[in-house]
Symmetry: D2
Subunit: 344 residues, 4 copies
Amino acid sequence: MIFGESHGPAIGVVLEGVPAGLELDLEAVQRELDRRKPGQSPTATARKEDDRVEVLSGLFEGKTTGTPLTMLIRNGDQHSSDYASIRYTPRPSHGDYAGFIKSQGCQDYRGGGHFSGRLTAPLVAAGAVAKQVLERRGIRIGAHISSIYGICDASLEDTGVLEEVAQKAFPVLDDAKGEEMQQAILEAKEEGDSVGGAIECAVTGLPAGLGAPDFGCNVEGVFSQYLFSVPAVKGVDFGAGVAFSLMRGSEANDPFEVRDGQVVTRTNHAGGINGGITNGMPVTFEVTIRPTPSIALPQESVDLRTGEETEIEIHGRHDPCIVPRAVPVIEAAAALAACAVLGI
Amino acid sequence: MIFGESHGPAIGVVLEGVPAGLELDLEAVQRELDRRKPGQSPTATARKEDDRVEVLSGLFEGKTTGTPLTMLIRNGDQHSSDYASIRYTPRPSHGDYAGFIKSQGCQDYRGGGHFSGRLTAPLVAAGAVAKQVLERRGIRIGAHISSIYGICDASLEDTGVLEEVAQKAFPVLDDAKGEEMQQAILEAKEEGDSVGGAIECAVTGLPAGLGAPDFGCNVEGVFSQYLFSVPAVKGVDFGAGVAFSLMRGSEANDPFEVRDGQVVTRTNHAGGINGGITNGMPVTFEVTIRPTPSIALPQESVDLRTGEETEIEIHGRHDPCIVPRAVPVIEAAAALAACAVLGI
Amino acid sequence: MIFGESHGPAIGVVLEGVPAGLELDLEAVQRELDRRKPGQSPTATARKEDDRVEVLSGLFEGKTTGTPLTMLIRNGDQHSSDYASIRYTPRPSHGDYAGFIKSQGCQDYRGGGHFSGRLTAPLVAAGAVAKQVLERRGIRIGAHISSIYGICDASLEDTGVLEEVAQKAFPVLDDAKGEEMQQAILEAKEEGDSVGGAIECAVTGLPAGLGAPDFGCNVEGVFSQYLFSVPAVKGVDFGAGVAFSLMRGSEANDPFEVRDGQVVTRTNHAGGINGGITNGMPVTFEVTIRPTPSIALPQESVDLRTGEETEIEIHGRHDPCIVPRAVPVIEAAAALAACAVLGI
Amino acid sequence: MIFGESHGPAIGVVLEGVPAGLELDLEAVQRELDRRKPGQSPTATARKEDDRVEVLSGLFEGKTTGTPLTMLIRNGDQHSSDYASIRYTPRPSHGDYAGFIKSQGCQDYRGGGHFSGRLTAPLVAAGAVAKQVLERRGIRIGAHISSIYGICDASLEDTGVLEEVAQKAFPVLDDAKGEEMQQAILEAKEEGDSVGGAIECAVTGLPAGLGAPDFGCNVEGVFSQYLFSVPAVKGVDFGAGVAFSLMRGSEANDPFEVRDGQVVTRTNHAGGINGGITNGMPVTFEVTIRPTPSIALPQESVDLRTGEETEIEIHGRHDPCIVPRAVPVIEAAAALAACAVLGI
């Protein structure tokens, strides 16, 4: 359970069900947090978030105790006054308006409050713990930027390369394509605009037979619920994804074969899931990330007090593309989903 | 909660939380069931399913009582012996193999058992009840086939037309496109193959302010969980969906304006959801439906007893495209999701 | 999930999460149903319930498939017209009034509808399946009538005797006390009245370390939630129960000792649970069963249409004490709770 | 969700679903915390807990935002070394042993860790917020010590007096009885022992028609789940409670009558709940609190490393009776349960 507001005193997460006795590598948690930290490259947002995680409970003598694990990240560097203008004038395609209605005008509007992308920091911390739990069972998670503003990365043939990709500042398979993507981001930035993209993720090592076709147990359903809780994710597509709509059954079907004494499928169009149950192949999916709604260009809005249409211009920070920073967040959401599917 | 196996004595659903006092229109429930019935046109499967719904509980003197509502559909027309060949030789991309592993070989393999598309019948019945509950609150749900095998329907400008589309035997906006799609299905059928497609769905009338950004409450997450429990759904994309990856923020953002004294957005790329919360615009999404894995062409499989690779050929029934029949199923899943979001 | 109304077409239950591959003994399920059947002795209700269970799903070739298991019991012998008088004149201490308000007058009032004790039949069927799952893990459940109208059974020293008690028509440890109890029931019956009592139950074989102190995982909380869903249960007390309020810590504490190489406690005042977690000793508890509210004596009520006070007299069936029949129901609820605690 | 360990850096709670726009009275929260603070009287524990609550999220400009509300209480005054002796020698009837098994020896054993009574502080804070939410709807909660070591308080005729009782240092109806109880506590203390007791609680203002007979919705089940998550609670009995086992139906039934145009019951033996649904009368129940297992007398235990029986003596703090301090905790649990029943 994630809590906090962008400009409140702190954000954090309480994790239930962490198995007892795990020697928690807090350095690894911090490294994951650093991967999502903004301000690392010219293509990223200007906000400096020096997030240090503090463990409040569930850890004793370096090992998890099996009781709720709480991680806290204090908020620093805040220019809350920057946001006074948006209190009653919602930014288009942000959560501002929906949050205003839901909270009857009582939301913490500063920096998007609880709706801020900043809330992905505790999610990443939680996912980093989940990754360590999964690793002990031989389950690994990796992801890469699959496209930005229409520029596509190479296709993922071998999930083994994703560990290497995780070390890159700009996590793509094909660095030349990565350069093009960064160029597109910079162009958008110069024009005060932003761009969208997509991330492909793979979970390897999940045994066959997990999940059920039914609502609530369906593996695709469980993953998608975690993935859609990441801000800006607007689509989740498993395996061949939207390309299925262009295919025939004879192409789409994954033939069974025996490899090293194991029943596997030759292709993995199904993304490791049939009938809502894992089939032992890597669980693969692509998520679509919308362009950051925060842009520097003037936009049309409405003053919620007067009901009059008005223009809104956002000054200060402006993140032209969150896709690169979203890679560790998607991995984190996938790690939590994998734990849920395993019943951890 | 949906129960039953394709070739067991009966399938059905128990619905909790149906408000008391609803005058249930059982004719309307039956009409929805008839919409998903196979064997209605040359492009559909040959199985005759004359599904009559029987209400076992939760209804008294024609009105719902607020206690669990149980609807039962007895199974008829079964050629269980057709399936003996697949008991230990799973059909590629079906749930057979995953189900075998999960149940340690104890699944009811006949006709896919609990994994069968037949289990969408109780889902449709449940959705039909949900639709009646929603209608009393001014919420309506409609859908159309948005593409089959790459042939795209006209784009949905006005959700109002979907009521008319629901009456069509082949639910598309543009009947000429519909003809092309049916042609593609027939061609696949003749070749013993199947085709995939996509369905676009819209939920109108949901008030702004429902949901939350967080896991478990996120509106996109709730909808996707219901949608992925529909067999063959492999992708769920909200609003502009995968096209967001090609867009700039200035295009993607939905400007606010005032219409009839109401704050609305000029465009609805967000599909009615910002920050996981409804914004009062129609909730729109597209689901990708994979080609039916059941094809008449021979396929490669493995004998799970001997571990030897083998060929499998499925005789008898063969549904070259389930997309048309899936339209009422997607509407049903959306209706149940809308009820969940409303807390009904 | 239990569904149905006393005088509707059928009652039943859908069980999720039954492990696959269990060879289900349907005879044993029927035997449990027979234990709760009314009309077996002069002290019991006159209603003849010849409950035969029909399995609709989740069972194939005699083994569970791991998919939802549905059991249906058709309703027979109904004198619905007997109940016309209570439609708008609620019986004191029945669910009639609460159900009327909740359903805005749309409840199935006949025989208590969904509130009827008859709904314990599917609960017993579900519990009988749970017992078979537990037995494979060495977990056994037994219960006896601990008191009726102040007449107390012998105290339970050894849980081993409960298997024998389960065979008795009147399940007590001390048959002489049982005679006295039956005498008290008959006296109440003759006066048109009813009596209450208590049932003591023990679950043996649960391993130490299950559960957690927290809400939702607390073993006492999980058990009590199942137990209070049995109609007429008004109190749940673990181990020494209410006697704890009379004790000192030095008496109440259970000293640890080593027996056969195992850490055990000499006494079991805690009822097998410390800090919300099992400690490996039998989980024991007592439930208080209120006197059946249905009595033949005239009672004061209100006509809900006119708001006028009125007298109500219930003719026909009248069960002077449900405690004996409630024994298998409490065992069933405990079996389901034990499965929940084990995460089955 | 409550987190923290007695001797960790902090304890706290994250509350989901707090309605937006509530002007939170933090002074009132602090007052409730002060009510459960130990060390206030000679009959209480010696530990000084100067608990100050810090709100980390969900509050903005003094009003709740509707997003998760996090309250943190830093731990102070800790003599962790006092507990070294119990690491492998569990205290009888504490959660030590069960926690050791569950966590495979990795629990924070100091002061009971997550099992500590100290964890009731965040529960009280959460309950104080819930009380404020309920108060806006006219729902009030009060409790009194109903017995200690067999000395019974006067019986509760009028729930109105409970507000006054809440102001007392020793919350009983009859102060003379309270004196006797305190005498019994002091005697036990002098002998290095402890005593148990019971608390009676009433929730007034809950409307009729909430809940359902079924598992998961049953009002008694919901309350008991919250109440059993309070450490040391071993029994929960509604209305007449265990006395039902001594009653006849004609005594136990609550006759309906009309008062001020409202349908009410003359007596309230049912404790405001029939068939698992509220009937509009006050929800009343009694919880049994076991004697504190921490006593100064030597006790028998086992060294979990060597498997040898050994004696254990606990030095330092010793709380001879937690019943008085448990009163606000039970009220808090009841407040959270009432919110759950109302669907807040």
